[in-house]
Structures are given as C-alpha cells and as structure tokens.
C-alpha cells in the first residue's frame, strides 16, 4: 500500500498534468503521452511506476489493461483543491457579463434569466440560478381581491419589486369592503416592514386595545403570510440543458433521462444547491460526491449570491465531470458577484 508520503511534488505534478490532458482531449492518458511533457524529463517507464502509485492511492484508474489512466473522483478533488491554476476571466467575457447584467432595466426575474443564460452560453454547459429567497422580505404593497365563495386572490408586492400572487381559501366569507379596508390598513401602516414583524406589531396593538385593530387585521396578515409561505420558492432558472446532450460521457440515454428528470422534478436539485447557501465562495461537487444518482457523471460548480450582504441564492454550472474547472470556477465566481450587484441596485 502506498502511503501519503509518496505524494511528493513530482507525483502531484504528474497528476496535475494527467488531469489537464484528460480534461483537454477526453482520452485516457498513457505514460508515453505524459513523458512528452517538457517540464518532466522522465522516461515512460518511470512514469508508469508513479502512475501505479497514484492508482494505488485511488487517484487515477485504468479503464482496462491497455488504456491510459483516467482521474477518479478523488483525483479530480485533489486536482481542484490544490493543483488547479485558475485562469482569470478574459476581458471579453467580463465585458459581456457586465453589459448584460448591469444594465438597469427589467425586473428581477429577467436578470436571473439573463444570468442563467450567460452561464450556459459561455461555458457551453447548463446554467442554473435559484430564485432569491430572503429571510425577511418587507411588504411594499398588498391587495386582496375577492373571487368566488371563500377564495381570495392575494397580490403581494415585496420591497424588491417582485410580485407574488396566490389564491387562498378562508374560513369565512369576507366582503369586498372588508378586504379593501384590511389592505388599506396594512399598506398605510406597515409598508416597509417584514411580515413577521407586522404580525407581532398587530398582536401588540391588539393587547393594548387600540381602536383600529381588530380580528380582521390579524386575518389579513395571516393571509399574507400564507401567500408567502406557499409561494413555490423552491424554484430555479435552468438554461442550456441541451448543451449537456453533446457530451459523450452523458450520451447514455438512461443516464441522460434520469438527469433531465431530476431537472424537472426540481426537488433534488434545489436540495443540492441549498447546501451551497451556507458556504463562502465557490463550492464544487464532483461526480458521486453530490449523493444524487442522476448527477453521478456530472460536476456542479456553484457559488452563492447576495443582496445587501445577505446570502439569498445560489447559481452555478452543471456539466460533465470532465470540465474545464480552471475556467468555470472563476467565471461562476464573478457571475455570482455581478448578479448580486445587479439585484442590489434595484
């Protein structure tokens, strides 16, 4: 058994070179090819010895006897963690990013779509952006419109100019006038505050028996919170899925189907992305690391993005394990920062 001490500088350089070559041309890399590396004046035989060690350590693996070696998940992991030389963004790409995201115009929804499209267009893989999910969203404006029976259409505008609407069911019948009054009250008294604080506030007022507060107000806030709670916030914008169909490692139809099914179920993907909400900076899942079968042959490069220093969402790129990490990582990083900036300025 080879110990970690065998991981001297030379073996690491060899691993790095191997991973880079494999990422570049997708073929298993043999000792002969590596021996051509000008920085590495070694014969194929020596390289074979080193590769045997790397294989013992589970960093590379041979598809069959007479093929070269291919990085394993651990190999990629080591590569990404310590060997990678990150390529800074090309200025052309940076320009494209900035001009696309920072033009003040459309609503938040459009900005997210643009970001996702950028991620997929530039990397030629799939781009994903989760909808921003703020802990405390303040009320900007609320409206209750009666529908048939006990159904009420609640329109809820948050202070980030996002419009939510939801049909809710109430226990009793409310008259249009009642609804109007409740909305007016909430709009005039509590705009700018978060829902939970509004609720607290009203309860307090009620205790103190203020005249203008009544059960209706409570109901109204409950409705509003309902609207918000049920809002399908577990959602994301995914673009460029079709790019993934070009990769040979995903050309297996059964695998591809599972992957696309995961995309439309959304649950699993969201759950995976949520794990990146906590983490600072760029987070990477390689192959089976994600824990989701559908992503076994994919890697996920993600970064959280923030509005006003509050982490609200995650964006990233989904592609085959064999991807150009050195370009994707900085790109995801910058995009996340720019998206945050774009949403800040709203």
């Amino acid at each position: 058994m080879a110990s970690n001490q065998d991981l001297n500088e030379r073996s690491l350089y060899l691993l790095k070179s191997l991973v880079e070559r494999y990422i570049h041309d997708g073929q298993p890399v043999g000792s002969r090819a590596l021996s051509k590396d000008p920085n590495l004046k070694l014969s194929p035989a020596t390289i074979r010895n080193v590769m045997a060690d790397l294989e013992d350590m589970g960093l590379i693996h041979s598809p069959h006897t007479s093929a070269g070696r291919v990085p394993t998940v651990s190999g990629y992991r080591l590569f990404v963690n310590s060997l990678l030389t990150v390529k800074p963004l090309e200025s052309r790409e940076l320009d494209q990013l900035q001009s696309s995201l920072l033009t003040e115009s459309d609503g938040p929804g459009e900005v997210l779509s643009k970001a996702s499209r950028l991620l997929s267009d530039v990397t030629q893989m799939a781009g994903v952006v989760t909808l921003p999910r703020r802990e405390t969203i303040a009320l900007r404006h609320i409206e209750f419109l009666p529908m048939s029976n006990t159904r009420i259409l609640v329109i809820f505008v948050t202070d980030d100019q996002d419009v939510h609407n939801k049909i809710i069911h109430t226990d009793r019948l409310y008259s249009p006038a009642e609804l109007q009054q409740a909305a007016n009250y909430l709009n005039s008294m509590y705009a700018g505050r978060s829902l939970s604080r509004i609720r607290e506030s009203i309860l307090l007022d009620m205790e103190q028996n203020r005249a203008q507060v009544n059960q209706g107000m409570i109901d109204a806030v409950t409705m509003a919170q309902q609207t918000f709670a049920q809002q399908p916030k577990d959602d994301y914008v995914l673009t460029g899925e079709t790019n993934l169909m070009g990769f040979s490692e995903l050309s297996d139809m059964e695998r591809l189907k599972q992957l696309f099914e995961a995309f439309s179920q959304k649950r699993g993907v969201i759950h995976l992305l949520d794990q990146c909400l906590q983490a600072e900076g760029v987070q990477i899942f390689i192959g089976e690391e994600s824990g989701y079968r559908a992503f076994d042959h994919c890697s996920l490069v993600t970064s959280s993005y923030s509005i006003n220093d509050e982490v609200v969402g995650v964006l990233g790129v989904i592609g085959p394990t064999r991807m150009a990490y050195e370009k994707v990582i900085p790109f995801v990083d910058v995009t996340a920062k720019l998206l945050g900036a774009a949403l800040n300025s709203k």
Copy 2:
C-alpha cells in the same frame, strides 16, 4: 404506376393492419406476419403483391430488401384520416381527468399545469398546453406602483383572475399620487370592460371635455395596454419531455438535441400550435408535415380549447410518429373540452 383505383377495400384493410402492427411492436411488418391475420385469408405471396402496390403509391416503404414494410407519412395520414377505429376513453382515465381538472381550487395557471401533466402521464409522451390568449380581456383591477426614476410596476388583474405584472418605462415622471389617482379612476369607472374599449371610451370623454378626464388617464391606459402587449403570451406548459427519451426512433442524440432545443426556444412550437387555433376539433401533424425539422420524427396531436365559446388556446401531445393514435386522439379531444370547462367555471 399503380392508380388510386387499386385502393380497394382489401388493400386498405391490409394497410390498416400493417400500420396497427407496426405501431404495436415497432418492427417492420412482413408479408408472413400479415398473412396470420384471421380476417385476411391470403397467402404471403398475395400479400406481397398488394404491398408492392402500396409501396408504389408511397404509402409504405421498405427500410431495406429483407426487412418488412413500414408506413410512410402518407400511409399514416391515410390511416389516421380514414382507417382508424378510435378507442373510447377508459372510464378510469375519464375519472382521473375529471377529478383532476374539475376540482375548483387553484388559479388558472395550476389548472393548465395539471392538464399538461395529465396529457403526459396518461400517454407516456410529452404534453403541452398553451397559455390562454383571449382577444378581449377585461380589466378587473389595476395598480401602478412607482419604482426608481421613470420605471413603473404595473399590476394588472384580468377578469379570469390572472395576475400580470410588468415594469414599464414612461416618458415623464409621475408622482405616486398621480399614479394612485389614475388607478382609482380606471378601477372605479372601467372595471369589467376590455382595454381597447376603455381607451375608446376615454378618448370620447376627452373630446366631450368632461372634467374628470385628462392626459393622465390616457397615459394610464396606454401603460396598461403596454403591460398587456408585452406580456410574453407566446408561452406554454410542457411536461413529460423526458418520456420522449425512451423512444428508439428518437434515440439519435443529434435529433433529440434539436427537439429539446426547439422546446426551449418555444417560438417554433408556438407557431406550430397556433395553426391549430383556427381548426375545429382534433388536428394532427405527422412527421415532416409540421414543416419543422426538429419534429421530423414526431407527431403532434392537438386540439384547441375554449373559454365561454371563445377559442383561446391549444393543447396536445407530442410523441414519435409511431404512436397509438386511436387512444391519443380521443384523449386529447376530451382533455381539451374538460380544460375549457374547468376554466369556464372560474
């Protein structure tokens, strides 16, 4: 050259039988297999003669010398138009449909999604439903909220309880009070009428120099119309795309990619579906008939659906040319009617 007179009852029955067999097991059908048909007491040799005629007429086609025959697009077309024996819906399916669609609860958006999901779940192909697009939509409620500079958030509730919102840019700055006033005026005076009629009305009032009408009102309606005009109505709900990955005739990765790209572009698909808006009843595109390369190996079974006798949208099923038309056609038909009914009752 064989003339149409050769299309006697026997040849037609043979074609029908051939198409049915091919649809059922996906293999080219040979003369020997067809000779086993109990209603058709003919030797393989005779059947071969008839099949040769059918091939001359371009109704069937042989992939290679020693394979059986496969229907061409014309063959499918003749089959669908005149030979098909439609299978009525199974009561289980009808129950499922009714209970899913006719439960009064959620907004129109959810109903459309449910319809689409039903289409894909039952047929195990892809289901599509275009968003309803009414010629004249009446105003239920409107709200203008100021954002930064000359940007205004318009919230527009139509009488079918659908909420639209859009950020528009105006020429000059409007004060919150102005916006409030405009919205109040529109809501109180014109709720229930269509936008174009509101506009006419206001212009008329202005000519007659009524006191309460001013340029602001005109601007308000213009804004409202803008909101509505720019609304991306060229949209649909598509579900079960992944089902399509199971079909061998779509297993070519390049084709599949084109198909999925068409799905996400949306333009072409919408254009195709629009052609069904005019038509009464179920409309079918078989293979290349659609005119879109991406759909060359697909068939599309569609039907328009109506709200209050006004045709507003199209729904349908997308699958391989080799699909069970006799089941899909009645299913699409019924679903369209039920969806109309479900939306009517709102």
